[in-house]
Each structure stands twice: as C-alpha cells, then as structure tokens.
Symmetry: C2
Subunit: 232 residues, 2 copies
C-alpha cells in the first residue's frame, strides 16, 4: 500500500500538460478531434503484433487507443506469456506510476494511438479535477485487475472462456455477435490456458448450442444468460 511505497511519489517524472484534456477526452471518447491539444498529442500507427513499448522501458508517455486493439503482457523466463489486459478504442493504457514499464504493450491488430506526456505526480499546478480523474481511472483499472485475478483463480476452462465471451459480447456493437480481434493464443495467454483447451472449450460450447462459430474469429453468442450461469 501507500504506506509501504512512499517512494513512488518521487519517481514519476513527467509533465502534466495534456492530461486534463486527455482525461476529459477519455470521458467522451467519441467527440470530434478538433481541440488544440490534439495537435500536441501525436498520432502513432502500429501494425499488428508491433511492439509499442517493452517491459523494462523507461516510462515516458501514456496512450489512448484511437482504433484497433492493444494487449499488455509479460514474458516469463521460460517463454510463457501472460496477457494482463486488452484495450480498445477510447481506452487509456500505459499510464504508469513506475519509472519503468511493468508490462510490454503490443498491437493485436493494426492500430492508431495517441501519446501523451506522463503526469508528474508531485506537480500541484494541475487542478484538483485532474487528480480526481486520475484517481477514478486508477480505481477502475484496479477493479478490472481484481476481476481478472478472480477469473484466473480456481476457475475451470469452461468458466474462463464463458466469462471471456460475455466480456467481449458486452464490448461488441452488434447484438449477439462477437468479432474477436485476437488469436486463440492471445485468449489462452489471457485466461491462463493453452490454445488447445481454448479451442476445445469453444467447440464444447458450440455443441451445447450456447454459441456458434462460423469462422474462428466470429463468435455468435446464442445464449448470454446461459454463459453467465456457467461462472455465476
């Protein structure tokens, strides 16, 4: 907790520049991009599987997803990969308090992101509103991380995959149809499973008629309620 890491306050070296606006922007992700702060926040494009930053890199900027999907992940010594989260349009990622990156960030699909100067924590020149926003942002991410931890702990492959599908069906525009941006490998590394198990579990759900899988990336969610029951 804070008590144990008062240090972090000193680390984080950044400027508070575009933050207020970027956070406000985050609150209204679809508003037209015509403010002057947008000029200051450079647009960057990445091709699928390109690395945006690597674990251990010095933390300089954070990002907002304009289009495409990003994953943050960590690699273990033996090559195992663990995906921490996926980010899609409107999401902010890479807003870290540590000096160096705890995860690496990679493009899942071709994507466009906007980069912002990292916030300088100790800088009080920003209004209270900025820090309120930052706190809310952090707390929301915390809840997500906790949910992820709970999903990984003591849950069967069926429960994990079901939860994953429900999660993405929420994010989907089209009712009852999920277009997955990521491979089975990504799903597996996010859920702590193998690609084979993910595949088998999807087949299983298909046979139970809870979902349909016309193509590997197109998942038709036939019964969201039944899926939710699986991990109640």
């Amino acid at each position: 907790m804070l008590a144990q890491n008062p240090v972090v306050m000193d680390h984080a070296a950044m400027t508070a520049a575009a933050v207020l606006s970027s956070m406000a922007m985050a609150a209204a992700p679809d508003r037209p991009a015509n403010d002057e702060e947008h000029e200051k926040a450079p647009l960057l494009s990445f091709k699928a599987n390109a690395e945006i930053y690597a674990e251990g890199d010095t933390t300089k900027v954070f990002y907002r997803v304009m289009s495409g999907i990003i994953r943050t992940c960590r690699f273990l010594a033996d090559g195992r990969r663990q995906i921490e989260a996926f980010y899609s349009a409107g999401d902010i990622f890479g807003l870290d308090i540590e000096e160096s990156r705890g995860f690496s960030a990679e493009a899942v699909t071709d994507c466009v992101v906007r980069s912002y100067q990292q916030i300088k924590i100790a800088d009080s020149s920003d209004g209270v509103a900025v820090h309120q926003q930052l706190f809310c942002y952090a707390m929301n991410r915390l809840v997500k991380a906790q949910e992820h931890a709970m999903l990984l702990s003591r849950r069967s492959a069926l429960e994990k995959v079901a939860a994953f599908l429900v999660e993405w069906s929420k994010r989907s525009k089209q009712q009852g149809m999920v277009t997955l941006a990521m491979t089975r490998n990504d799903i597996a590394d996010y859920l702590g499973l193998t690609i084979e198990t993910v595949s088998r579990t999807l087949t299983q759900l298909d046979k139970k008629n809870l979902i349909g899988v016309p193509t590997p990336r197109q998942i038709q969610v036939r019964d969201v309620h039944a899926l939710k029951e699986l991990y109640a």
Copy 2:
C-alpha cells in the same frame, strides 16, 4: 477504463474529512497517535474470523489496520472462496469507489482498525495533495492486483507457494523467519490451490531444505534466493 465508466464520479457519496490526514498518516504508519483527527477516527476491534464488511454492503467507510491481519475475499455460488489480498499494520483497505462492496473483509487474526469516512470524489474542497495521494494509493494497489493475477495465471503450485513465502518473508521483521498469521486454507484460497497441495508443497520445500517448518505457522526461510529462482 474511465471512458467506459464516467458514472463512478457521481456514485461515491462521502465526505473528505479525515482523508488527507489519514493518507498522510499512511505514509508514516508508526508515528505516535496524538493528533486530533485520531479522535474523530474511531478504533474498532475484531476477533479472528469476524466479518468487517460483506460483499454487497454499502460502502461507507474505509479502514486502516492498526494491528493484526485482514483478508478481503469473495465467495462463489458453490462455496469456493477467493482471497484478493491480505492487509497488515499500516495498510489501508476498503477504500472503494463503488457504491457497494466488491469483496468482503474479514479478520484473519484478532485485530484493531481505524475507520474513516469515505472520500467524496467530486468534492474539490480537498487540496490537490489529497488526490495525489489517492492516485498513488490506487496505482500501488493496481500493481499489487496485477502481480497477483500474474501469479495465479499459469503458474505451478511450487511457483505460487515459493512466491507467497518470499512475499511474506519481505514483510517479516525477523530475518529468515516468517510467522504466518493465516491458515493453510487462507493460503490455498489466496493462491488458487487446495490445502492439501499447499501442505504437500511446503513439505516438498522442506525436504529440499529451502525452508524449515518447526510449527505449521512458523516457516524458517533457509534460502530466499533459491525460492526466488523457483518463479523467476
């Protein structure tokens, strides 16, 4: 992310009263308790295994551990329990942004905590410093939650238990000796294992001479470095 939950700003109903002081206090957990804000922040005692709050309860206050150990956890429909975190002296817990508790909190040992009024997010009357503290607090918790998620994902029982012991040997005062406040059951529910597996794994580490187990709650850490190697 923030973009998806602008709502939370409105929820959180609280007063910012003792927060700044309590957060400042958190930064120096051992300082003498003689400020006036301490009078305002009531001391509460709980016996081992007592419930401090339950999942779903309305969020009214948050706590700081004065002595003893607290666990936050969630129960699944089938009775499975998952422990999110353990909190010890100086730690803050229950500082949530949601209206209702996402986890329940229970005393692992007899403990004393101090309660504070929850922060009112939208209240700008607090100084920037408070919100900076809050942000740092949230980000530090986030890092912990992420580490926990990574530990639960795709790691063997040996790796989990080793990491757990290293974690607690860091928190321990006595060099090379860890006094566990929690049962095998708590450890199991924290690591996503069963009590039998935890027990067997400890026996295994004992036989390898990396640890000694004079009594179930006393773990002598003989080779921290070797333990760390196990989950490198």
